[in-house]
Symmetry: C2
Subunit: 119 residues, 2 copies
DNA sequence: CTTAGAGTTGAATATATGTTCATATGTTCA
DNA sequence: TGAACATATGAACATATATTCAACTCTAAG
């Protein structure tokens, strides 16, 4: 007779391993948030924007010109970056300037670069 | 008369800034690869798998049991992680054991955790 | 107060992506 | 060789997501 979990009856080969790892896992919500964060980095347009803002603050239409895309597309992506607390903005007249809002962005970038360039 | 780019006629407010940042940007291909890498991290199932493998190597069906998902779903995700050089595997009889294949994974995780937990 | 420029937003569309289901490999053991 | 098990794979479906287009807000200047 096989033991059953609350949700499934998948069998387990190494019960001790599964139990040990299960206890070591961070809470669901934290892992979900982590995936959400990396999802933001997982788009080449947003990567380019973050990369550009690492150099200096820029306004929306300059970013659009830099990347050869429409203001609307850039604005949509900036909203996502803003929601993820990765960029902040300041308004000067009609122009809105965006800049990085996180010290970790550079570090995350660096590790990513290390991986893609190393192999 | 407005100056035109090769591909578009978007106007620029701060030409000097755009030119300076443009020269500082890494090559397109590298940024694309970087986005592809983070895209792999940008799924909660894959995050959980990587998180589990940080503890110790595991076989497919144990991972499936741990996460309460089907073997097939896990196998599909492991293929993606394998293609990204984030996990490696060894076969022992019928069982295939997966483990982390990158020293940067832990660092990327750490930075991500720092961001999500800090706000 | 009207106009023009900079940016935002919402709906729509096209594409990408994760999971499921069924089937195929590949390995061990009788 | 054949049965049983662990894993992998392919097609299909459902959902998520990026860009476009049009309309809208907000500010500065005439």
């Amino acid at each position: 007779m096989k033991s059953k979990d609350a949700t499934c009856d998948l069998h387990i080969i190494h019960r001790e391993v599964v139990e040990r790892v299960s206890e070591a896992m961070p809470p669901e919500e934290m892992l979900y948030d982590l995936a959400e964060l990396f999802k933001v980095f997982g788009d080449s347009t947003r990567i380019k924007i973050l990369c550009a803002l690492q150099e200096e603050e820029m306004c929306v239409c300059d970013i659009a010109a830099l990347l050869g895309m429409t203001q609307s597309a850039i604005s949509h992506q900036l909203r996502i970056l803003k929601q993820a607390s990765l960029v902040k903005y300041r308004r000067d007249g009609k122009v809105v300037y965006y800049s990085l809002d996180d010290e970790h962005v550079s570090n995350i970038f660096a590790q990513g670069f290390a991986h893609v360039s190393h192999r």
